[in-house]
Amino acid sequence: MTAPPVLALRGIRKRFGSVQALRGADFTLAPRELHALLGENGAGKTTLMQVAYGLVRPESGEIAINGVVRTIASPRAARRLGVGMVHQHFTAVPALTVAENVALAAGWKVRQGLLRERVREFAEGAGLPLDPSARAGDLSVALLQRLEIVKALASDARILLLDEPTAVLAPGEAADLLRVVRGFTVRGGAAVLITHKLDEALAAADRVTVLRRGAVVFEGAVAGQSAKSLASAMIGDEEGGEARRPRTANRGRDGTVAEVELHDVAIRLEDLEVPRETGYGLAVRGASLSIRRGEIVGIAAVEGNGQRELLRAVAGRLQPLRGRREIAEPVAFVPEDRTTEGLIPGFTLTQNVVLGSRADDPWIRRGRIDWRLARSRTAILLEEYGVVAPGPDTFASALSGGNQQKVVLARELARRPRVVVAENPTRGLDIRAAEAVQARLRGAASDGAAVLIYSSDLDEVLALAHRVLVAARGKLLEVPADATRAQIGQLMVTGGR
């Protein structure tokens, strides 16, 4: 290979406050390559790519594009050099239309009619059709993800940096997306794929780089690697091999379930109708469901099929329009968005624990809060749930995503709930944090709670749940116990028709 790498990062160092995020990381991306970038949460994957995209200025190290050393001071500069990024958090402006969002990213001229046509054609040409007049805020997650990629491609990106693009997609959609990316590299582009999913990396990528604590611990061709070898590179030797629970193996009625008493129903829904969160139209149409104590029920669904509203109706956060709803109290609820719904970032951990308070909490005395007690209880919870934080007076915003999620769980499960509802409980978490969260949910079930979860990661649903339901267009469909992963994926997309 004589051509220089399209992107080379050498000796990149970056410190945030007291944390050394990158300690001399190297990374090279060859032409026409699909390169997977792996690592635990906090390993520095995203930061490294943000350096290449001009969002983060490194303290030292150099960046070369097509063999020429460059200073990339801003995303604008990055895009001029042909670098495009698809962020983990969506960057479409909700109030603008799809066409406007593309024009904003690509710097296209804003002539309404012409622009719409141009965006429509471009998106179709890229194999990612979109309605250019739709407001980005009205799009489903899958379509938003699609928009992100269209935006990057429209900016004439030759190098595409994708930060966990498949995290929120159904299996079929994820496969589609990876095909589009592959098409992009075949046409001469190069792409970096940040992911947690080892099998996805193994299946889709040409080469793989693994980061651990800000430094590269492995770099090489995918050929010859296995999930196990990559996982041990990511985590280090002490826990090698336990990358993820063997998937699908414990789905269904395995040994653990049999030990649970199955006669006590904690959640019963009959013919429930729930409006959309936006207030217009129905999200859930006639859902019936019973969940017993000790049982974990998982919902598999493509974004926007009513599962969110169903869970919130069960958790008592959304008022159903019609139907019966019997839910045992107390209910624990783990919302999807930690930083806006689960926690108040500007509050301390103690305050965030108190946030869920009810009259029967020990620190509430006739409308007064005993902060000393709340603080000591919080300290105990932090300890118990292994939250890495200086103490109960730390601001929630100072914690990593995984630790924030543990705080939410600690708060919600501390009350010994009889019902647990969790939305995407491990989204954005690294393997160890995800495992800890899943273990907590299992623990809640074996302590006698009925658990209802939804995850956009089908693998997680399969790994956790005793029983799986598919939500499609507001209806709940039972999944046969012996259904394969592919069959479930099919059901999610077609809704059984």
Binding site: A103, L104, W108
Partner: protein, 304 residues
Amino acid sequence: MTDSLVLLSGFLAAAVRVATPLLLAATGETVTERAGVMNLGLEGIMLGGALAATLGATAAGPWAGLAVAVLVGMLLAALFAAVAIGARADQIIAGTALTLGAVGLTGTIYRQAYGIGGAGLALPTLAPLPIPGLSQIPLLGPALFDQPMPTYLALLALPLVWWVLFRTRTGLALRATGEGAAMARAAGVRTGLVRTVATVVGGGFAGLAGASLVLAQVGTFAERMTAGRGYVAIAIVVLGRWHPLGVAVASLLFGAATALQYVFQSLGLDVPYQLFLMLPYGLTLLALAGAVGRARAPADLGKA
């Protein structure tokens, strides 16, 4: 019959006159708020513009006054931007402080410059410029086409601002900044710069609004002469749903209500005049409740 027509036409012209400074300030504030910045210093900037226009016109004629007012408006807005955008300080406090400071500064400078005799009415002003033909249209002619230059500037600025906001890349970047600054940044928009420019442009408009009070209406400066118009302009931006067209309608509505207030008082009815004084504000509240209640503000408005 023709008499009442003349009266109606005069009333419409008055509505447009009252609306002009509000429209100018509100148009500028629309640009500012679309970029996500709420400038409560508008009142102070108008006052600064008014004094600047007085000083400028005294020195070098009305056009110089207009230009100086715009410059001073931009300067004061830049000061606000440095604090509220550059240092990301709270916009409401910064705006309040700016207004407070402007009241003090204009009062001090005015007394230094003109003494207790004031500036008098010797200032060269901008007389109405009837547009041949158009100003002869019955009813609307005198209202829209027999006005001083600032009114025409306001009317010309409307489509211009609309075009920039909705038909140019700059406008797209500006709206994106107001609706989602983080996302706009990710798209390569220099949001700090966009917000600063939008604020400074808004300041220029507010300075012009102040100048229009002096040069096209009163012909002199008086301390605190803006009398709350800056705040009203901010209300008008909301009433107009952050859209130039809506802002135009809202300004005219407020102008008409105010003009009506004078008409009612001049009728000599046996009704306390204070009730008429409340009229424009009451009508605005009603309009907010009725037509435009659910208007959505730019998502990132006021966020540092």
